[in-house]
Symmetry: C2
Subunit: 385 residues, 2 copies
């Protein structure tokens, strides 16, 4: 198996892009990544996307994006794993290079959500849940997470305030990220006063719907120095799954897909959670942040909010999280999110994260989650020092 | 790169399955393939599907199918390339095994279309076209193919009757395929009298909407004999793309994605079109059959219908096509079709095709096409003799 590295990255501003279509958005990120790698023509394109069918009436999206990016003819396909679609597409790109089938591959995550009808978006996101046992009863994706958060608060006697640290950290980190959707810091007061979305999830417990695209170029590590002075090595890539429906799990407060995916990743990289210098976690909801930290070995059960409460998740803390704003403040264009995480981790490992730079970052971990923990995709990236 | 073989196959009847959900349909094929391979637990599942989002409100489909098949926890993701989704998913499975990341992988194609509203299905299929330059003008997927067929008939002075051989052959071959949707033979008269769908495409020029699922189990060729007495080797796997929109092509009558994908496949397998013993082609429309034969090197330009007219595409002809009924008569559950082709080719290469058995079949070729030739995925399979 060939070792794989990242040699180029590209991203668009996350926000409301009513003036461009999904093909423009995607190809902006693809072309930026190719330029960063100094490459004209990769031999394959894998696209992470969840909702282009229902929201844009467009499938065969990867072929369309290849053509629109001037790459007509190359291998192309779309990969879907709900909100983990971006990292799942990266996984396919890694398989393509690791296998020896391709030397230069571009992976793009793209989603365009803000100019669709609100109900369409809600129904689209709901397709990440179990259609026949959850959606059919009228639950929304937010309400499923609300059930989880309520159960957590009850079971562990945790107050709602305990979760405040996650969005506060994400918003603080987004201030200096030029690509972030919300560049405003928030206080505990803002969090407390936020309107309720689905009790106990308030506006700041929940990541925003957004438009955006991010892309990376991959090649065999053995060739990486031809294209980049600072290649970033993919030290681990793993996918774990669980039941899609929340009620089918023995213990709903334990994200077993996250656990299995994280444990496989540590094993592949030959390191443990204590070695991770920063974590781009899937903070779609603050409850998912807490549960992910627990399932990934960063916190004991029921204590996922502690790191945040103790101030250890900031840029200079013990475990910096969501270093460029995370899903909460950089924004969450669902199929693109997994690639934003990779682009941001690469910036950190290259020392190009500007005001948000983590000191001495060598091991970066990214975690992209589909549904309410149904699919978890973990990557560990290693900087070249 | 590790060589990859097929060690198990499974399929469901193609038809109208109003009594089962998409998860049941998919897992029936998965469990059948695992049973055929004598395997309990593969380590990854890749699912080819196009329309589960809009038609069943279900994304994260691969994770759901893994769980429903008793495989909770394994790597899972869905792959989409319009009507070529099935073969694209197979491609990912091959990358996974070839890379060394996985030893035992199951790939499933599944689609459930017949119990959705007809307009929803038409709109869903239209998402295989270019949403902003084709669909928006009110074209349907059939009308795009009708434009192509009309142009072909005009340019090459070919009569509509010339295409009759394709559906007649497919229907004849479906008679003895227990999994086929239409087990009735048809005559030239039936073809001539069929009602028009979109002039010049009539009912028999066009493959039916259907429900179905098919699956295969892959492993490294070096291990294949542990699981199967008759492993089938994947000698070539390639993806070609073109513009999605028909009007963007220099020459609409030349399917360049099919051409590039076929030429790469011949090179990988080290053989030419003259060595192919049978071809499972993408006969979604009879015009696509003709154009595919031309672009794949089986017929000169403008003479794609000749093989059919000369009776060379039957089971004992020079180039047997659609040996188990093809998309036209076995049925075309879009995301599943690519895997049905692989399952059928495997049956031929194992000598298990019953009344439809091709004598001395050693090299089988399959071709799965997305959109009006936007994406083409070609595989060449080699029997173990």
């Amino acid at each position: 198996m060939r070792d794989v590295s990242i040699i180029g990255i590209g991203q668009t501003q996350v926000g409301e892009h009513w003036d461009v279509s999904i093909r423009d958005l995607g190809s902006q990120a693809i072309l930026a990544a190719l330029k960063d790698a100094g490459i004209d023509r990769p031999s394959a394109l894998y696209v992470g996307n969840m909702l282009s069918g229902p929201l844009a009436g467009q499938e065969q999206l990867a072929t369309l994006l290849a053509d629109w990016s001037g790459l007509r003819g190359i291998e192309a396909m779309k990969v879907e794993a709900a909100c983990a679609s971006g990292a799942a597409a990266l996984r396919v790109g890694i398989l393509a290079v690791a296998s020896g089938w391709h030397d230069l591959v571009v992976v793009c995550g793209v989603e365009k959500m803000t100019d669709a009808d609100g109900e369409e978006v809600t129904l689209g996101l709901m397709s990440a849940a179990d259609a026949e046992y959850e959606s059919i009863h009228g639950t929304s994706f937010v309400s499923l997470n609300a059930i989880l958060m309520r159960r957590y608060m009850e079971e562990y006697k945790v107050a709602h305030d305990a979760f405040a640290g996650f969005p506060i950290n994400s918003h603080a980190n987004a201030v200096h990220n030029p690509y972030a959707m919300f560049k405003q810091a928030i206080s505990v007061e803002t969090f407390r006063q936020a309107r309720m979305i689905a009790d106990p999830i308030n506006l700041f417990d929940s990541a925003p719907i957004a438009d955006g695209a991010a892309a990376v170029v991959l090649c065999p590590t053995a060739r990486a120095r031809e294209f980049s002075h600072q290649p970033v090595r993919i030290a681990a890539s793993s996918v774990g799954t669980d039941s899609v429906a929340l009620h089918d799990r023995r213990d709903p407060l334990f994200l077993s897909a996250v656990y299995s995916s994280a444990m496989k990743a540590y094993q592949q990289a030959g390191i443990g959670p204590e070695d991770i210098d920063f974590l781009e976690l899937h903070d779609a909801f603050s409850i998912i942040s807490a549960l992910s930290l627990e399932a990934s070995g960063f916190a004991p059960r029921g204590q996922g909010t502690r790191l945040a409460e103790e101030g250890e998740i900031g840029l200079h803390g013990r475990l910096p999280l969501a270093t460029m704003g995370g899903l909460k403040a950089r924004g969450h264009p669902v199929g693109a999110t997994g690639l934003y995480q990779i682009v941001e981790a690469t910036l950190q490992l290259r020392g190009q994260a500007g005001a948000n730079q983590i000191p001495r970052a060598h091991w970066g971990m990214t975690q992209n989650i589909g549904g309410v923990g149904g699919t978890a995709v973990t990557h560990i990236l290693e900087g070249s020092d």
